[in-house]
């Protein structure tokens, strides 16, 4: 493997550049973007809106944190240059810190300008947050003059600090970051922690802020743990686990599943209602996301009207169980117990899946997305319309849906724990079904269709049937969620099924990692659990006003930076980064040419996924 490529990549020694040898144009541009971002967030009212929530009691509020993380991250990323093959790697030096300081100062100057402008002009009419409150917040309640200087200094220092993280030894850097994260998460998740373990409330003041003493203790604990090598040990354990193969891996997996299963059964027993409700919501969105994961993640069909199946599931259950359904249903139409209605719901969802799937299945991918979105709207409009209000009660919705009665226990909305157990049961079924399907002939056919439809067809896959199956399976999984939702809420309205819901489920699947069950689970916990669903509050209740903005920003950011999601599916990420893989393979191929004992096995990466998809 000693060849030309290797030499060009590693031959130039690392270079240290002078402290003021900077790319000024780039820095000013980055600084201006940082400033724009800070001004945008201030005018969007995020900092002032969150100012009431104290994190560390008298010193730090969530409002400041929501603003100040930005210079820190930008400072870090300014100094974080990507070293590509053949490029000269520069050693991190004081130059990077200077760059951070400059960018931060320019960004802070944006805020200073805002402070001055708020004082000078009054354009409160269109801009709702153009007021003294924002001004006072930005100038730390100490007057304009102080604020103008403080903004620049604070922002510069934070960005400089972010940049200087590169200079620290790895372990120190990790320790600092984990201490910061630990303090912030302990403070932010106050309501959750107190709900899970009431005795923990001694950490907090009455308003929910962390007491400074305990903040220091938490930070010290986190520091100590990382410095003593805790993080590395966890990392080591993870790599060990990932490298396991054969029976040992199976055994480890079984232990992992049993432990997490037991934990999921026990946790709701010891926690309060807030956590139970949260877990139930996460579960419902997990069910939806698992279904969409099959449609989008495995079969590669972008279904933007997925909420239609959720709606059909919810309404079918409601119509079959409620005593208050529309008056136009015929006399003989039965009222069933929940589980009976549930079976009909599955059938109904499958049929609707077929009905919606059949016309759209041959369309090209992007048309399909818009047409499914249209179907999603049509179904909601029909449930809402006066025309069918004799059946679905229009905007009044169907109320009086009885709790799901299973003899030994009842599932109803006032008892979120029971809802959670029901959701857990179905989530386990869904996960098992997805997992088995992914490894079945049908699952491989889906992936083949996702990668290249023409090739899949040439390989003898009936693409139409395979895609229809994806629609039907996805619809049935969504109807699980619909049926549980109607029993949980006890009433059902068309406004619960806006397109927004489809998009949020899509964000969950994409952020988690398309085509990866673990990814979808992580996605639903992180997004619905922490930020909250379209109407359901998450752990960060304070963010409810801003969560949709965050969802949008997250979707863009994920697509630009990490389209394979947080927990990527190996094959999927190979597809998305095909160019890079081909390039790597090409480089490697050259190496192989030069090397007579070329390693032929590696060239498998040249044809990503095909080997798996067609077999």
């Amino acid at each position: 493997m000693t060849s030309t490529i290797e030499e060009t990549a590693s031959a130039p020694a690392d270079v240290t550049r002078g402290a003021f040898d900077l790319e000024w144009g780039d820095l000013i541009k980055t600084g201006a973007i940082l400033g724009l971002g800070l001004v945008f967030m201030s005018l969007a009212g995020m900092p002032t809106g969150l100012d009431g929530r104290l994190l560390i009691d008298p010193f730090l509020s969530l409002g400041y944190v929501s603003l100040l993380w930005l210079p820190l991250i930008v400072g870090w990323s300014v100094a974080n240059e990507k070293v590509l093959e053949g490029m000269v790697a520069t050693r991190k030096s004081a130059r990077d810190v200077v760059a951070g300081l400059v960018v931060g100062a320019i960004g802070g100057a944006g805020l200073s300008l805002l402070i001055v402008l708020i004082g000078a002009f009054d354009i409160r009419d269109p801009l709702v947050n153009w007021n003294e409150k924002t001004q006072a917040f930005l100038s730390f309640q100490r007057g304009t003059g102080f604020g103008v200087i403080a903004c620049i200094v604070v922002s510069a220092l934070l960005a400089g600090f972010g940049a200087s993280l590169h200079l620290m030894p790895r372990r120190v850097r990790r320790a600092i970051v984990s201490a910061l994260l630990a303090v912030i998460s302990v403070a932010v998740f106050e309501s959750f922690l107190v709900d899970v373990a009431d005795p923990l409330s001694f950490l907090y003041t009455k308003t929910g802020g962390l007491l400074p003493l305990w903040a220091a203790v938490v930070a010290a604990l986190a520091l100590a743990m990382t410095l003593s090598g805790g993080g590395e040990r966890i990392g080591q354990a993870r790599t060990n686990f990932q490298e396991l193969t054969g029976p040992a891996k199976t055994r480890q997996n079984t232990i992992l599943i049993v432990v997490s299963g037991l934990a999921l059964i026990i946790i709701p027993m010891i926690t309060g209602k807030i956590t139970q409700e949260l877990l139930a919501n996460v579960g419902i969105f997990l069910l939806l996301a698992l279904g969409l994961n099959i449609v989008v993640g495995l079969a590669g069909i972008l279904d933007l009207g997925y909420v239609a199946f959720f709606a059909v599931g919810g309404y079918t259950t409601a119509v079959l169980t409620s005593t208050n359904r529309g008056p136009d249903w015929p006399e003989w139409f039965p009222t069933l117990p929940w589980w009976g209605a549930f079976l009909v719901t599955l059938l109904m969802a499958g049929l609707v899946g077929l009905f919606i799937g059949a016309p759209v299945i041959r369309m090209r991918g992007d048309y399909l997305a818009i047409v499914t979105l249209g179907f999603g709207e049509i179904i909601r409009i029909l449930f809402l319309s006066d025309w069918l209000s004799g059946y679905f009660n229009g905007a009044q919705g169907i109320t009086n849906i009885p709790p799901a009665d299973f003899g030994i226990f009842e599932v109803k909305g006032t008892d979120p724990r029971s809802v959670f157990y029901l959701v857990l049961f179905f989530a386990v079924i869904s996960i098992y079904v997805s997992w088995r399907l992914e490894r079945s002939r049908l699952g491989r056919a889906w992936m083949a269709v996702r990668e290249d439809e023409s090739v899949a067809e040439a390989m003898g896959i009936n693409t139409v049937n395979v895609k229809l199956m994806a629609f039907v399976v996805g619809a049935v999984l969504a109807s699980f969620a619909g049926a549980i939702f109607s029993a949980k809420v006890g009433s059902i309205f068309p406004t619960s099924f806006l397109i927004l819901v489809s998009i949020i489920i899509l964000v969950i699947v994409i952020v988690g990692g398309m085509g990866n069950i673990v990814g979808v689970i992580v996605g639903s916990i992180v997004l619905v659990g922490v930020l909250g669903g379209p109407k359901q509050p998450g752990l960060l209740q304070e963010f409810s006003e801003y969560k949709l903005l965050i969802y949008g920003a997250l979707l863009i950011w994920m697509m630009l930076q990490r389209p394979e999601g947080l927990v990527p599916n190996a094959r999927r990420s190979r597809e998305l980064h095909q160019d890079e893989f081909l390039q790597d393979a090409w480089l490697k191929g050259k190496v192989d040419d030069a090397d007579e004992n070329g390693n032929g096995a590696d060239s498998g990466t040249v044809a990503p996924g095909l080997a798996g998809g067609a077999s």
Binding site: L43, A44, G45, D125, P126, L127, V128, N129, G300, L302, L304, A358, P359, M363, R364, G365, D366, Y367, A369, I370, V371, G374, F375, E377, I378, I381, L382, L384, S385, D386, W387, S440, R441, L442, A445, I461, N462, V464, N465, V466, L468, I503, L506, V507, I510, Y546, L548, L549, Y551, G552, A553, L554, L555, I556, M559, L560, P563, E575, L576, D579
Partner: protein
């Protein structure tokens, strides 16, 4: 499960049969609705009308009502057409649906609101200088919308060029979500009302008794469309745009700056959406952060109806969609005895999209796309 994969031929024909059935049903619905409408216009008390309306005779549409519907349809259709141009051009050049294009339109309408409000406070709107005030507002709206579209392209779409086509589509959903919520947070969640138009504009005038605002909308849309046609078909930049739409690689070999041409495409599309935005404001006199969503989707429908990539088609598609949306509830559905037809307008638009894609997927006037985009 495996049988579904193994069975070939048989399953395919079943899907085909179902689709034929769906086509026949939808077209049959239109024919029956039309016939019922004609019969109802001739004789409101005919047996079919009595049967569909629970024994009551149907309401005959008066000539005035009918004319009103057509003008409403045309003016709304003109706006859909203007927005559709942006979708169509971007699809032609980049091959993906810019889902956030509706938000550019909304930004235009919002800017229009801010401008109109400020001009009204200064006494220029309802008072004397309405025409210059509107022209000035149109100019600013166009600029802001253009800027939005260009920034969007730079930030979200340029880094994704060459990735699988669903990736930019998903990104554009994120962009749309972001812009919508940013507007809510910056300007407040409520609906914003435009100042009222001067009386002489709202009067019904000319021998057809048309409402002035609607005439204004149709005229401005027609002028913008003509300008765009001239730009695309007669100028050098327009020629470059068409070349890039046909084949990016060869266009760049011919010395065309592809990046700049794509930016121009976004800018021109954004400008059209901005004009549509202010027209929307003049017509409905109210704007809210979610204003862009439905018109955006419908404009995409219009682009598909006319044939994606085909600019004349986009305009014609917009006008047909607007008219269909205005007419179909009262002309097709009401005679069939459907209640509350005005609620079903949006459903009509989406059904039209499905129908066109089922019957003539290349649109009424044919697509103009490069070979790779047609795949």
């Amino acid at each position: 499960m495996t049988t579904a994969v193994r069975v070939k031929g048989a399953g395919r024909t079943n899907v085909d049969r179902f689709l034929t059935l769906l086509r026949v049903f939808l077209i049959g619905l239109i024919v029956v609705g039309l016939l019922a409408f004609i019969w109802q216009q001739i004789d409101p008390g005919n047996p079919f009308a009595r049967w569909t309306h629970d024994g009551e005779p149907a309401n005959r549409l008066t000539a005035d009502q009918f004319q009103g519907l057509i003008v409403t349809g045309l003016s709304q259709g003109a706006m859909y057409g203007l927005i559709a141009l942006g979708y169509s051009m971007v699809y032609g050049v980049l091959g993906f649906i810019n889902f956030a294009h509706g938000e550019v339109f909304m930004v235009g309408a919002f800017t229009g609101f801010i401008m109109a409000n400020k001009l009204d406070e200064a006494g220029y709107w309802e008072g004397g200088a309405f025409i210059p005030a509107v022209l000035f507002t149109v100019l600013i709206c166009t600029l802001v919308a253009t800027l939005t579209a260009v920034v969007m392209e730079r930030v979200a779409y340029r880094p994704l060029r060459g990735s699988p086509r669903l990736i930019p589509l998903i990104t554009s959903i994120g962009v749309s979500f972001f812009i919508q919520n940013a507007v809510i947070l910056l300007f407040g969640p409520g609906a914003k009302s435009y100042p009222s138009n001067p009386d002489w504009l709202g009067e019904k005038r000319t021998f057809l008794q048309l409402e002035g605002t609607k005439i204004l909308v149709i005229v401005v849309a027609a002028i913008s469309m003509a300008g765009l046609w001239y730009f695309v078909e007669r100028t050098k930049t327009g020629k470059a745009m068409r070349a890039v739409a046909e084949d990016k690689e060869i266009a760049s070999l011919m010395g065309i700056n592809v990046d700049r041409t794509i930016v121009t495409t976004f800018a021109v599309g954004g400008a059209m959406a901005g004009i549509a935005g202010i027209l929307w404001g003049l017509l409905f006199r109210s704007v809210i952060a979610t204003t862009g969503f439905l018109p955006g989707i419908k404009a995409f429908t219009a682009a598909v109806v006319g044939g994606v990539g085909n600019l004349g088609g986009a305009m014609a598609g917009g006008v047909s969609l607007g008219s269909a949306e205005a007419l179909a509830p009262l002309v097709l559905l009401e005679p069939l005895g459907v209640d509350g037809v005005s609620q079903l307008r949006d459903a009509v638009a989406f059904t039209l999209l499905i129908l066109v894609l089922l019957v003539k997927p290349t649109g009424l006037f044919g697509e103009r796309l490069s070979a790779e985009d047609r795949a």
